[in-house]
Amino acid sequence: MTNSAPLGAVEELPREKVDRFDRELAEIVKRYPPDRKAAAMLPALRLGQEIFGYCSTSVQALAADRLGTSPARAEEVATFYVMFHTKPHGQHLVEICTNVSCCLTGGDRIFEAMKAKLGVKNGGTTADGRITLREVECLGSCGTAPAMLVDEEEMFERLDLAKVEQIVGGLK
């Protein structure tokens, strides 16, 4: 495997992190019938991303190996869904919705202002590596628009620029 760099190499991943991955994955696969382990590809990649920082080709290879499927299958999943990151991003991921209901309540202005303030383009990372800012599609917060998702974990709603600046400024 070490020679097949494009597919990633499980051996390159730190042992103790791989152990943690294996422990937690063992719990996850119980949700699926024993002969359908490959169904756990999405949670496996999410777990890998959480433990190793992003969905590198090595993480994809690890998930594929443990679920008894091919790295190609892992790669097609990792590149299809926007919440899987095949490249490292900043310490915090700030995602602002600019879909219709959010724009009708100011989402586009917030996004433009934040790009200028942070000095980044859509998808860009600040020079200090702290924040990656990107525009996202509808977050399902249309009634409480505009909305923002931080680190794909915490949703902030009914925003204005001042609130967004405060939240982003407060990220450690």
Binding site: R36, A40, T69, Y81, V100, L104, T144, R158, D160
Partner: protein, 441 residues
Amino acid sequence: MSDTLVLSKRWGKAGSAELAGYRADGGYRALEKALGMDSAAIVEEVKKSNLRGRGGAGFATGLKWTFLPKDVRPRYLAVNADESEPGTFKDRYIIEHDPHMLIEGIAITCLALDMHLAYVYIRGEFPKQARILEEAIAEARAAGIIGPKLLGKKDFDLEIHVHRGAGAYICGEESALLESLEGKKGYPRLKPPFPAVVGLWGKPTIINNVETIANVPWIVEQGGDAFAALGTGKSGGTRLFGVSGHVVRPGVYEKPVHYNLKRLIMEDAGGIVGGRGVKAVIPGGSSCPVLRGDEIDVSMEFDAMKAAGTMSGSGGVIVFDDSTCMVRALARISKFYAEESCGQCTPCREGTSWMEGIVEKIEHGHGTAADVERLEQIAGCIGGNTICALGDAASMPVQSFVRKFKDEFLRHTVERRCPYGEHGWGLDQTSRPAVVGAVRY
């Protein structure tokens, strides 16, 4: 018109998401009743209720259930909590405020259809809601409500699991959802065979929306006829309508299925901010054909909306005031569909990007009258020519916006700029407190 609340009556009560609170309010009584019923009788009540799918298509739920082949096992239930259609934000509140109602609905459905494994497919951008639901399922399992026995009484094993998506609108399409549940990218499947016959792992599978399933306990407890009576004709019950955009009180309102759209906007949601007029309304999520402000005095019932040339879809009502640029709005909607096209079918993969590019060009003053014509032509070539409904979903807004606001598109080409300048999204873009059931957000 009835003001009975089926779905949102417990929203905002302290501890509404917890088992103790749900039980204190009579929760799991419907499951208790269902345990004493013949499974065919449960299906019969759902048929009588005239419950129609709340995810967008409005298909008769009871009828869908009868498509399961008689003698193939196992069968699976997949509950669709993908909720990704722009303008739609209702299922999340069922999960946040009353997850046990959904679990009870799942348990009754599985009992009626002889299913022992159910998955709730929830969009990846709802981490909090996924956690709430997982905790509620764990609570139900620990209390012996699900697991090896139902309610600790009947030998009927049932497991419910949450499967989180990872950011793909297409996975709300039922066959793409199954692919994603199987651990693959979300490419919709050719139909037929329909999932009720060949679904998850090739086995018969029923896919129902969260709101659809959450109605089942009430139907079993109060009877199908009572549910049908809340609605009209072939559509029973109430619906959760989400109102967003330029209204005074955006939010989720539970109303009878045939509630009047204008009344919802002007009375319940408090009308338009700053007292401006309604220019346009998308009545059921971004894919539904747009209505002009003078066309909204209509019932939101599925068939009535179809007669009005649009769809009641997912019940997501997006309101645009008269200061909004419709070309700007369509440009954003077209960008969404181009972004979310899975790429499997050529007409959609290519066509959505072409449409996005052309609408952008018109919005920035570089388009011509021929471009406006071309938009309609491209949209006409996508709809009906793709494996799944995303092709139609992408073309319907383009066709309806151009048809109903043609003057505005042409004005952009004549003036060679957007007449609304930097105010394309309206003069008042501020956020306003939302009302969700009885809760103020």
